[in-house]
Amino acid sequence: MGQSVTVPITISVNGKQHSAEVEPRLLLAQFLRETLSMTGTHIGCDTTSCGACTVIIDGSSAKSCTVLAVQANGAEVTTVEGLADGDTLHPIQEGFWEKHGLQCGFCTPGMMMSAVALLNDNPEPSEEEIRHGLAGNVCRCTGYHNIVLAVQYAADKMKS
């Protein structure tokens, strides 16, 4: 009790194991950005509201600004950096490109990770289901219309 000790963790990020000795208060978002220098995961609101920091943990989307790195110990985490296969874009990335699904781009990594989790659960979502699935992600540019089109593009692409 009260010994203020760090904790050894091993987290698989995009298929690669990363081990580190971390403070229990370190957030997963900070672990990704600062410990691993993977800055694709953005930190927006800091309070689980905006969704910019969304990653996929063991198959479920989660806001990594409200997950301690120690909670993800032993988990498989996928970040936006894990979507593309070399130079080949993931269908959701292609969708955002083709349908102009971003303006400033700040929310985009989180939007794409939520969309990927949505499409994993529901490969053929309706527009309403897409909007419901992305309810936890905020776009300050209010570019929702094209984001929905981007997800529909990805759904069509992944189906074929």
Binding site: G2, P24, R25, T48, S60, S61, V70, S114, H132, A135
Partner: protein, 292 residues
Amino acid sequence: MKWIDFEKPKTVEDAVKLLSDSGGNARPMAGGTDLIVQLRVGDPRVNADVVVDIKSIPELNELSYSSSKGLTIGAAVECYKIYGDANVNSHFSALNDSATLIGGTQIQGRASFGGNLCNAAPSGDSIPNMIAHGAVATIAGPSGTREVPVEDICTGPRQTLIGDDELLVSINFPSNGSGFGANYIRFIPRNEMDIAVAGVGASVTIEDGKFTSAKVSLASVAPTPLLVKEAGESLVGETVSEEAIQNAANLAKAAAKPISDMRGTADYRKHLCDVLTRRALNTAVERAQGAS
């Protein structure tokens, strides 16, 4: 965020020991979707030096159903597991009204009904629903376990009768027969991702066109989620009718003790209690009649 120590016990006994050894400075954590934010902003009501992660304790991750024992939801079971569960969908589908409403998808992957109850927000979206279902919480402490009806757990905003050395283990929902229906609805000024201005959980059991039991519970209109006993009791023995439901809604409105704040005035919230109670009861009746 200030320094915290992290513990991840594997048994209820070890968790209770960690909590009781810490002298009130430890907090259990399920998904952490409320606790981590509170620790980060330095909420004085959550002054934890030790966080006890309960995700490795089997009893707290149990989700089981039997017709004799009803539905048991471990305190750490995430919302997405609740709405993905076949037994919940067959026998307790109204719980999904809350499970699909709390936060967005990302929160539902981590947040639990147990955490929602222990966080004891007046607006906790699962709490009136649990109360309407007659749910009972199992709480473990240094001297054994005790069972407490969910409506008695919250004692004030962010306050519960669960001691610093106690741990919420699970929530049990008694089996309901044919003719049972329930519903939780809330009012928010947008479509998703907001805190209830007012919320109502309702359940009914109907036999031969008459209510044989009913419960009404309110959120966001008192310091705690509220069971309005008289509203439910007013329905028992009555024939299902608009008048009976309106009478129960009037009683719910009368029981509400809301404050005025940025989300709505007290008068507005009282009005919502009337409207939402009527709607929740009507949906519960529809579901009861569809199920029988």
